[in-house]
């Protein structure tokens, strides 16, 4: 299925846009994204340096790498990608998000090409990237399978796609919905709809359908003692996946 019709839920877009001024408030509604970001970026860095055979030693391993961040919000992932040396394009359907992200990157002295558009429209333009990152988006779209197919079109042959999302398990219901939204208040209530969560098996099936290979997944867990998010083999709640588009 190829369509330029945006695969998104207007209610979800509006919900994030309303919070656009808060993206970079480390103790605001996106507090958890700030805390979980470093571990996610490590997964992206390791997957990309390994698969794309980059020099992993310096501060800018992504030099000359064309990166795309889909559903960039305020730029919490796009900015670090740029700091790692990437030539970054970042898209989000929410105009308010793009406005907030643009101002922040300018203050940070970083160059990021922010665009208020959808993955479908960008794919239609024929643009492709070495590395496509799409974090915390797939569980918010109505048709995940079609969405993965769109993302696959944005990856150049030989390039890679990195995804992060939430698994649909009893544990994720307990932790991500009841725990994070109701008990701890880490996330605004209604941030997630558990029924839209995607299991690694489902995600792998979507990727295979889209012609993507070498599926690898890794969990991100919260370490209560260290008060830190860390990489783990446990994919029961938050997890990341990387896939390759055969060259």
């Amino acid at each position: 299925m190829q369509t330029t019709e945006a695969n998104l839920d207007p209610r979800e877009v509006a919900q994030f846009a309303a919070l656009s001024g808060k993206w970079w408030d480390a103790n605001g509604p996106f507090r958890m994204l700030h805390r979980i970001g470093p571990a996610r970026l490590q997964v992206i860095r390791d997957a990309a340096t390994k698969h794309l055979a980059l020099d992993d030693t310096g501060r800018q391993p992504f030099q000359n790498l064309r990166c795309l961040d889909v559903g960039c919000g305020g730029g919490l992932i796009a900015e670090p990608l740029a700091r790692l040396g990437g030539t970054v394009t970042a898209i989000d359907p929410g105009k308010e998000n793009i406005a907030a992200a643009t101002i922040h990157a300018e203050q940070a002295g970083l160059t990021v090409d922010y665009r208020a558009t959808t993955a479908e429209l960008l794919a239609e333009s024929g643009a492709t990237y070495d590395l496509v990152a799409c974090l915390e988006v797939i569980e918010h779209v109505p048709e995940p399978e079609a969405f993965v197919a769109t993302l696959a079109r944005l990856v150049r042959p030989g390039g890679m796609l990195v995804l992060s999302t939430l698994n649909r398990t009893p544990k994720s219901y307990a932790l991500a919905i009841i725990g994070a939204e109701y008990v701890l208040g880490w996330l605004p209530r209604g941030t997630h709809d558990w029924t839209r969560f995607v299991t690694p098996d489902e995600l792998q099936a979507h990727c295979t359908m889209a012609g993507l290979t070498s599926f690898a997944s890794e969990g991100i867990v919260y370490d209560l003692i260290r008060d830190q998010w860390q990489r783990s083999t446990d994919t029961g709640v938050n997890y990341m996946a990387s896939v390759v588009k055969p060259g």
Partner: protein, 415 residues
């Protein structure tokens, strides 16, 4: 002229210089660091020889962990010739006029790896080596801005605008406050600090004598405060000594012969005839702990964050731990594409170091209070306590490893 830096360090003392070198060691030339220090042109390795007349009497007891850091930075080889390994530590609390001074605790001062748990290093030797190392990196990673201080800064969403006292403006992702116990940067950020004033003053000087000290450090707890003899190279010791403020002022006002007699009375006669081998200095003793070690785009290190009672000579060791920990947090963040001043980087540094510093401050405070008195009950309590430690080799090893800075969560550069 406005410059953009990864980090601007306020304060060019041992702490600020070591911070800069550690970041340069971690990132190579792939980093932009400025050190802002109010003193005029930092003395280079050659320049400092002109100052040999002004001898700084202070010395540091550097832990094994601190020595490991200096070794990683490549500066230890310049210091080693001036560093006296401490082979043995003796702790005693007997009266001054007691014929025999019973030793409460003595231990061979070695870590499990066999290196000395501490070295006594004169401040001047340390500073010379650090300045030399920084000058080797000038124009690459490290920019020295001397004769200037940071008058104000404004932390924004992504870093801080920094204004120096010549009204020049700079931008930095992170400001590192290494500007001492009365940190102007800490105050500017509005961070309050918990204070424990002591009615004691510290006196420091250098003495020489006839017989070799054999690398033994002596900590003599007297009612007025501790009197420490820290062995230096040659037949010399750095004396650090605290007294009630009035007594200290009196001692400082004495002429050399009478001053020496006061030292002789406390030092004992084991090492033969004593003479003064350097100037004396005195300073007020106080302890403080900042309520927070970080603020947006700001991290406090060393005395700016905490100062402990100099009783254990641990001040600089704690600063070095701050430095190694902060560098590790920054490096891990940079691997994830985070800026030096990223909130999560600072948050991790704070949770790592603040607990450790609080514990150290409280411990040294408790030790000082336990010993700075002459109450019979407390005398017997500490005699029993230290006597127990003396009999247990496991406990002694714990004390050595605590003193060597090798307990707790040790930063990678110090392992």
């Amino acid at each position: 002229m406005s410059e953009r830096y990864d980090a601007i360090i306020g304060g060019g003392g041992p702490t600020g210089l070591t911070m800069a070198l550690t970041l340069a060691h971690t990132f190579g030339d792939d980093v932009r660091i400025a050190i802002v220090d109010p003193s005029e042109a930092a003395p280079s390795a050659t320049g400092s020889s002109m100052n040999t007349a002004i001898v700084d009497p202070r010395a540091w007891a550097l832990s094994a962990a601190s020595v490991r850091l200096l070794r990683s930075l490549g500066v230890w080889s310049d210091i080693e010739g001036h560093a006296q390994p401490v082979t043995e530590i003796e702790i005693t609390d007997s009266f001054l006029d007691a014929g025999i001074r019973p030793v409460l605790l003595s231990y061979d001062n070695q870590t499990e790896a066999g290196e000395p748990a501490a070295h006594i290093v004169p401040n001047q030797a340390l500073l010379d080596a650090l300045h030399h190392a920084v000058s080797m990196r000038a124009n690459n990673a490290i920019t020295g801005i001397s004769g200037r201080s940071i008058s104000s800064f404004e932390a924004g969403a992504t870093g801080a605008n920094v204004t120096l006292d010549d009204n020049s403006r700079h931008f930095s992702d992170l400001i590192i406050a290494a500007d001492g116990r009365r940190s102007h940067l800490r105050e500017t950020a509005g961070i309050k600090s918990i204070q424990w004033p002591y009615d004691q003053r510290g006196i420091v000087t250098t003495v020489a004598y006839e017989r070799p000290h054999g690398g033994k450090a002596v900590q003599h707890f007297l009612p007025g405060g501790p009197f420490a003899m820290l062995p230096l190279t040659g037949n010399r010791s750095c004396i650090t000594w605290s007294e009630d403020a009035a007594a200290a002022d009196h001692i400082m006002s004495l002429e050399d012969t009478a001053f020496l007699a006061e030292i002789q009375r406390r030092f004992g006669g084991k090492l033969g005839r004593l003479e003064l081998a350097g100037p004396r200095a005195s300073f007020p003793l106080s302890m403080h702990l900042a309520r927070s070690f970080v603020a947006p785009s700001l991290a406090l290190i060393g005395d700016a964050a905490h100062s402990v009672h100099p009783i254990a000579g641990q001040g600089l060791n704690l600063a070095f731990r701050d430095i190694a920990a902060l560098s590790e947090c920054i490096a891990d963040g940079a691997r994830s594409g985070l800026s030096f001043g990223d909130f999560t980087v600072l948050e991790r540094y704070q949770s790592w170091r603040r607990f450790d510093s609080t514990l150290s401050a409280a411990t040294f405070d408790a030790i000082n209070r336990l010993f700075s008195n002459d109450i019979t009950l407390l005398r017997s309590a500490r005699e029993v306590g230290l006597g127990l430690v003396n009999r247990s080799s496991a406990l002694k090893q714990y004390f050595v490893s605590e003193g060597a800075g090798l307990s707790g969560e040790v930063p990678k550069l110090m392992r």
